[in-house]
Subunit: 215 residues, 2 copies
DNA sequence: TAGATTGTTAATCGATTAACAATC
DNA sequence: TAGATTGTTAATCGATTAACAATC
């Protein structure tokens, strides 16, 4: 495969899932003043093999240097660019319950370029209440906020039964990506990307793991 | 492969990750009064193929019936048992910030058998404050709570730099499974299971997906 | 019974790892 | 220079899908 096709073609799903880990670690190392990291060191820190690391990074527009490894600064920049994180990405939160409010206030998102530009709910009792600097808005305003502010991502933090309607509303309003914090499986058109946060599913996976440990 | 070895051997990771989805959907169907579901219908609802569904369910101690499909009640019971969800599972939350408090109050966990038995933090200013029915306890009490209450799972909802120390404290105190809500990669002994919630990573994956859509 | 649907084997596909020439 | 480390190809491993006999 030529360099051309490797770096411009689609990146395998398994690799895309790992790129955020490389990014986080590269930023962490940079922050600690470490300028170079080898595939072996990176692998150890992230629980991978050095082979996987080198394979993965070959999909990123960036080269390591023999005998030195990868520049943490270059790695940060290149992975950020590959993921499309070179500019702020606007998000809205749908659902202003405990979880939705916590996410709207979550500092880490802003710190890494995800800007929450609206918090929505359909419970009339909480409309206009404040969540940090946000004012809870009714779902009827979702469309105009998404259009005006060019929102790309909707975070769905509603009760189980409200998840699909919330997804429909977000899609109809123009969102292209959905972060699903519920246990519901969302049915969406092919052009829409969904990532499931799997919180309950993760606890259930852990239940299996700790059970298996016992037997 | 004999029935014996299929159902008693270790279940492939990819299958374990899907079992919670089958469980959620089976419970949803049951709740709606639907008693039978075919592999094809299940596949459509969950975005899988009927072949994957049948393969996956062959790892569960439970059989479908030709021409009718799977009993939703049987499916619920069998998957619950396989995952080890036939009894309550005790958890603690470490970190009483926005996210930790939201998770401690999250109704869905209790509803599905995960009981939060303690909320911990090391910021002296918030010790003894209430989170719903929970009182925030200092980390110094973590060990005795985990031992006394036979806690299996620790939920880590602390700032990035505090994640590894929190994991160490949980492991030292006797937890066997960790749900990591932070972006940090946790280094743990082999006997300990970690599942990453990947919230920031999921947003970054979505950033890539919506970027790729545009080009 | 005939047809629908399961359970399972075999084939395909994709992801990970091993190996090593290129190179700094 | 000699040795460490990358980038890439080929081999292995695991996950998904296709196909079909068994069965209700």
């Amino acid at each position: 495969m030529t360099i051309e096709s490797r770096t411009t073609g689609r990146i395998p799903a398994a690799v895309v899932r790992r790129l955020p880990k490389y990014l986080t670690h590269a930023q962490h190392l940079r922050h600690g003043g470490i300028e170079w990291v080898s595939s072996a060191t990176l692998a150890d820190a992230l629980g991978l093999t050095s082979s996987t690391v080198r394979q993965d990074l070959s999909y990123v527009e960036f080269q390591g240097i023999s005998k030195r490894g990868y520049s943490t600064e270059g790695l940060d920049a290149a992975v950020s660019l590959t993921l499309g994180l070179d500019h702020h990405i606007r998000c809205v939160v749908v659902g202003a319950g405990n979880l939705g409010r916590a996410l709207a206030l979550h500092n880490e998102f802003v710190l890494h370029g995800f800007r929450i530009v609206g918090v929505f709910d359909n419970a009339s009792g909480i409309i206009d209440k404040k969540v940090g600097r946000h004012r809870i808005q009714p779902m009827s305003e979702l469309r105009s906020v998404i259009r005006r502010q060019k929102v790309e991502i909707g975070i769905i933090a509603v009760p189980f039964e409200a998840a699909q309607p919330a997804a429909n509303a977000l899609i109809e309003a123009g969102a292209n990506g959905l972060l699903n914090m519920t246990a519901a499986h969302l049915l969406v058109p092919e052009r829409i990307s969904v990532v499931d946060a799997r919180i309950l599913a993760s606890l259930r996976e852990l239940a299996y793991a700790v059970k298996s440990r016992r037997t």
